[in-house]
């Protein structure tokens, strides 16, 4: 027994460390938000038909006129999108030009959503196959992208816009305009 060397404990210690690692990761799952890898890259080429009757559709060429914009990915069936509507209106009042991409939505549903929650958008494109959404690396609704005047994606905000995000987004928009 006296010959029992300390190295005999190494495998047990390794197993213990492994156990603690697995247990801690199980209890604390990694973040599940998938960030876009398109920041700093140009928007893909697209031309979406209008999502409802009273706003024009949205094409990449509309985004290259030198003016920075917020591109809001939303849907009438998305609950957090309704929650961020007041903040989008606040951004519009502060002078932000906001364009919308409506994901898998019917014109009548979009019209009802806008009638209920206000319409801060200058243009709304209908993305019925989530093609633009995938093209810009967005993984859900709502998400808001800052696009500069050359059509380059500058920033991505994932999830609904809260009160405290409004000044931050205005700042990002200003930076994109420089």
């Amino acid at each position: 027994m006296s010959k029992l060397r300390w190295t005999l404990w190494v495998p047990l210690a390794l197993f213990g460390a492994f156990f603690v690692l697995v247990a801690s990761q199980l209890m604390n799952p990694a973040s599940t938000t998938v960030e876009s890898a398109m920041i700093g890259k140009p928007l893909p080429e697209f031309a979406l038909k209008p999502a409802n009757a009273d706003r024009p559709g949205l094409a990449t060429s509309d985004m290259r006129d030198g003016q920075p914009r917020l591109l809001n990915v939303f849907a009438s069936w998305c609950v957090p999108c309704a929650a961020e509507a007041p903040q989008l209106s606040a951004l519009e009042r502060a002078g932000a030009n906001i364009v919308g991409v409506a994901i898998r939505d019917r014109p009548e549903d979009v019209a009802m959503f806008l009638a209920q929650h206000g319409n801060p958008y200058s243009r709304i494109g209908a993305d019925d196959l989530s093609e633009v959404q995938v093209g810009i690396g967005s993984s859900g609704v709502p998400e808001t992208f800052v696009i500069d005047g050359k059509g380059i994606i500058r920033y991505q905000h994932i999830g609904d816009i809260r009160d405290q995000d409004v000044p931050m987004l205005l700042e990002k928009l200003k930076e994109a305009g420089l």
């Binding site: 599940t32 998938v34 876009s36 898998r104 690396g137």
Partner: protein, 134 residues
Amino acid sequence: MKRLLLLIAFILAAPLSAQDSLPPAPYAYKQLDDPRQEAEAKALMETLRCLTCQGQSIADSDAPMAGDLRHQVRVRVARGEKPEAIRAWLIERYGEYISFKPEVTSSTWPLFALPALLLLVAVFVFRNKLGKKA
């Protein structure tokens, strides 16, 4: 009475629909006509992560966005694009996370190196033990 009414109201309330009402994309559930192309598309779809239900592949998930991605994959395969090019196109948009296919990168190399290292250690220990007995 008020409570009972409230309770009945809760029971009868229809859950708020958090899904879209649009039909699935044309190739979300429809296979390609060419069986060889469909097999290629299927194999690729099984190794792409659904962004809505992240533990599932887009082949397994019924989330609308997974359907739209299956449509994209099938249309691109039908157009003659190589599956690995489509995977690269998606990684360009979402990062490595969207692919289930293991790749050796700066952060994953220990996964490939460790088993080889452990095997070497095992061989070394084994030979030492045998050497002592002989």
